[in-house]
Amino acid sequence: MKYTIADLRRGQRAIIKSVNADTLPIKLLEMGCLPGNEVELIQFAPFQDPMYLNINGSYLAIRRETAFQIEIHPIEQKTGL
């Protein structure tokens, strides 16, 4: 199964596997959203959207629709994922 940032749980960390360079804004890549970097989910707003992340040391929030476009390898296996 394909995991994306949208599958993360609060406090969970993962490694970015691939990003869709055509649809993601270059600004997000420049903030460190690149393959191989670590991402951690800090907080959700209600309805799990937007998502507050720590990507490669940068703290930022993105919408769920954007999160779906960033594939990850989960590193802390918790129940269910």
Partner: protein, 699 residues
């Protein structure tokens, strides 16, 4: 040597770049606009050792040279144009020590342009708390530049920056990244096509969608034919470039940057847990809003009363002290009340900007954006629309400009279009005086009815903004790629100096911007009201005497009759009579009509206009409120300002688009007259209808 050194201050948002600018220039700064656009241009002068001076330009915050907004375009347009008078001799990149990795991305880009670039590592006071240690000599060696470690909070390191600016000639201009490594084949082709140009600059010209007016036109023309790569291929190359830059940065930081995370405190995490909480986050935001409104509408009442009284007595004093004549009248009845109408807004505007500045400085505003995004999106807005909508309660002009960081064009456009519905401070004096006239000063359920009405009008403004956003979202067929990235900066205590400078600058630009219009209008109005087509106007005394005939009337009453005859026959009276049929169904007479028309320049002139009209009409010094209360509707014989006409006026002012300055800003920001025209027609038409219905129902 008296030549000024041109310095450009560059950095990511939230790095304390403005604090560095303030520390370097003190109050020796000037805020203006870049020609033709509304991007703020901040520049200042800094005195350096040995009598040298530096001209410091504070460029808008940007994450990289890949511009995605008007503000960011300014940075790249300047840095690619050697002929610009502001082109820097030396660039200073300000970086946040906690976010060095990401901040260095921008640094490497600037450095690769071949401009001598100083690196300022700011917020050094936070290093201990975060367990960070730096090896400056190693960093300087790898980044091929000089570094100043600075804490603007403690005032440390500023002298070091000044020293480095002085010695900018000794800085290396060697690039960090060899541009041709991004795609050797493609760049080889570029090199052959333009042998005389720097490869990295060419690459930026190709990939950026900005307006290079002053660049070599031939180059741009040729480049567009050379750009054989598809957009998506170019984007892939940009991604590759970014990855390569990060590889370089990671290599540098591995040697010169250490973090001992065990000493790091979880301050951010703990605060975020509360401030972005599902329930408490919203509760706290709501409380903060309450405090802001309390300050704007309650605390600022005291200075406002003081200003009001001061100007009233100044006008009175002028009238009694100076020799009588046209000039004294112009001063006492036109200019002084006009100025008073501007100065009275200062407390409210200052309070609002004070709170916004504090919320921005502390990093809290990003949390609000995060909390509100989902809710706002339902109405076609963005979480980032919250800031413009709050700023709109002071003035729509800075609010419309504050929409610039909304990435999605449709969301931004909708925000711009609906922001003028929020109750700006210019509507407030109109509301206050009408409420005082027509709403009884009694208590309902322990609440003051007048205060309640005011609150209702605010909610109405917000409600209308949100509702029309929802409608626009359904109607507007704009496909724009939606993306939303908001940085969540670390929490900081606001720096007093930064907050103070922001408040002073914003207030000043409001006062001088809006002030000119208000002053001009009061003078024009005064002239129109005290002059008329000579024939009838000059013979006022004679005509009145004729109608009075032989009746024995006290002198005072007679002179009042003459004044009111004069006003009716003045230019303004004639204009008012002409529009009377249109506004009569709303319950207004021609005097209110004049006030409504002049309000289309700016709403706040409403009260001033009535003051001008009435004080010309009567010689006695009465407060404007009593004067309005005494006005009689010639048709019904009842008080002109009653519940029906009062509510009708309140609703008209709540919805109508009566602000030329806002229309001008909207035109600039949307780059077309179409949107301001739609705003003007739709909002004012709607206002007319609502006011009409309200008056006819209540009358």
């Amino acid at each position: 040597m008296s030549k000024q050194i041109n310095v450009a201050l560059i950095g990511n948002p939230n790095t304390g770049k403005t604090s560095v600018f303030n520390a370097l220039t003190g109050l020796n700064q000037k805020v203006g606009n870049y020609p033709g656009i509304t991007v703020e241009k901040k520049e200042g002068v800094c005195k350096l050792p040995r009598g040298v001076k530096a001209h410091i330009l504070d460029l808008p915050g940007t994450y990289s040279l890949n511009a995605s907004s008007l503000d960011e375009n300014v940075v790249i347009e300047l840095l690619l144009n050697k002929n610009d008078k502001d082109f820097p001799d030396v660039a200073i990149v300000v970086a946040d020590v906690e976010n060095l990795k990401r901040n260095l991305l921008l640094f490497t880009q600037i450095k690769d342009l071949g401009i001598p670039t100083i690196l300022v590592i700011n917020m050094a006071d936070r290093m201990d708390r975060r367990g960070i240690s730096l090896d400056i000599p190693i960093l300087e060696k790898h980044l091929k530049t000089k570094i100043a470690v600075v804490s603007t909070r403690k005032g440390a390191g500023i002298d070091k920056i000044k020293e480095l600016i002085c010695d900018y000639r000794y800085l290396s201009v060697e690039p960090c990244l060899n541009a041709s490594l991004i795609d050797p084949e493609y760049f080889d082709g570029l090199r052959k096509a333009f042998p005389n140009h720097d490869l990295y600059k060419l690459w930026l010209v190709i990939t950026q969608d900005v307006n290079f007016v002053n660049l070599d036109r031939q180059l741009v023309a040729d480049t567009s034919s050379f750009a054989t790569h598809s957009k998506s291929a170019l984007k892939r190359l940009q991604q590759k470039e970014t990855i390569m830059r990060y590889q370089f940065i990671n290599g540098v930081l591995k040697e010169g940057y250490k973090v001992d995370s065990s000493t790091a405190t979880g301050f951010r995490a703990r605060l975020d847990r509360i401030l972005t909480h599902k329930f408490w986050g919203y509760a706290i935001f709501f409380l903060i809003l309450l405090v802001i409104f309390q300050a704007i509408y309650d605390w600022s009442g005291y200075p406002m009363d003081l200003i009001d009284e001061t100007f009233a007595s100044l006008s009175e004093w002028t009238k009694t002290t100076l020799p009588a004549g046209s000039f004294t009248n112009l001063l006492a009845e036109g200019i002084i009340p006009g100025l008073g109408g501007i100065v009275i807004f200062i407390p409210q505007i200052a309070f609002l900007f004070l709170f916004i500045a504090i919320l921005e400085e502390t990093g809290y505003m990003s949390r609000v954006v995060f909390l509100m995004d989902r809710i706002m999106r339902r109405f076609g807005l963005s979480g980032k629309s919250v800031v413009p909508l709050i700023s709109g309660t002071a003035c729509a002009i800075p609010a419309v400009m504050a929409t610039r960081n909304i990435e999605n064009w449709k969301e931004r456009l909708i925000t711009i279009l609906v922001t003028p519905f929020t109750t700006c401070s210019a509507r407030l004096p109109v509301y206050l005086i009408i409420i005082a006239l027509v709403i009884p000063n009694t208590r309902v359920l322990g609440m003051n009815l007048q205060g309640l009405t005011l609150m209702l009008l605010y909610l109405l403004g917000f409600g209308m903004a949100v509702f029309s956003a929802w409608v626009l979202n359904k109607i507007l067929n704009i496909k724009s790629r939606s993306f939303f990235v908001v940085e969540m900066p670390a929490y900081k205590l606001p720096l007093f100096k930064n907050v103070a400078i922001t408040v002073v600058e914003k207030t000043k630009s409001f006062v001088f911007g809006a002030g000119k219009i208000i002053l001009a209008i009061s003078i024009i109005l005064w002239f129109l009201a005290s002059n008329g087509p000579s024939e009838t106007f000059d013979k006022a005394e004679q005509r009145v005497a004729e109608t009075v005939g032989a009746q024995n009337i006290p002198r005072e009453e007679l002179s009042e009759m003459v004044s009111s005859y004069k006003l009716r026959e003045s230019y303004i009276g004639i204009m008012g009579k002409a529009i009377e049929p249109v506004i009569q169904p709303l319950g207004y007479d021609w005097k209110i009509g004049i006030a409504v028309i002049s309000s289309f320049a700016a709403r706040e002139v409403f009260v001033g206009t009535l003051a001008t009209i009435y004080s010309v009409g009567s010689d006695e010094e009465e407060t404007i409120k009593n004067r309005m209360r005494a006005e009689v509707n010639p048709q019904t014989g009842e008080a002109l300002f009653n519940l029906a006409s009062g509510v009708s006026l309140l609703l008209f002012y709540a919805f109508a688009m009566q602000c030329m300055s806002t229309l001008a800003v909207v035109k600039k920001e949307t780059n077309s007259w179409k949107w301001p025209a739609i705003q003007l027609v739709f909002m004012s038409g709607f206002a007319y209808l609502v006011a009409l219905v309200a008056y006819q129902l209540l009358k």
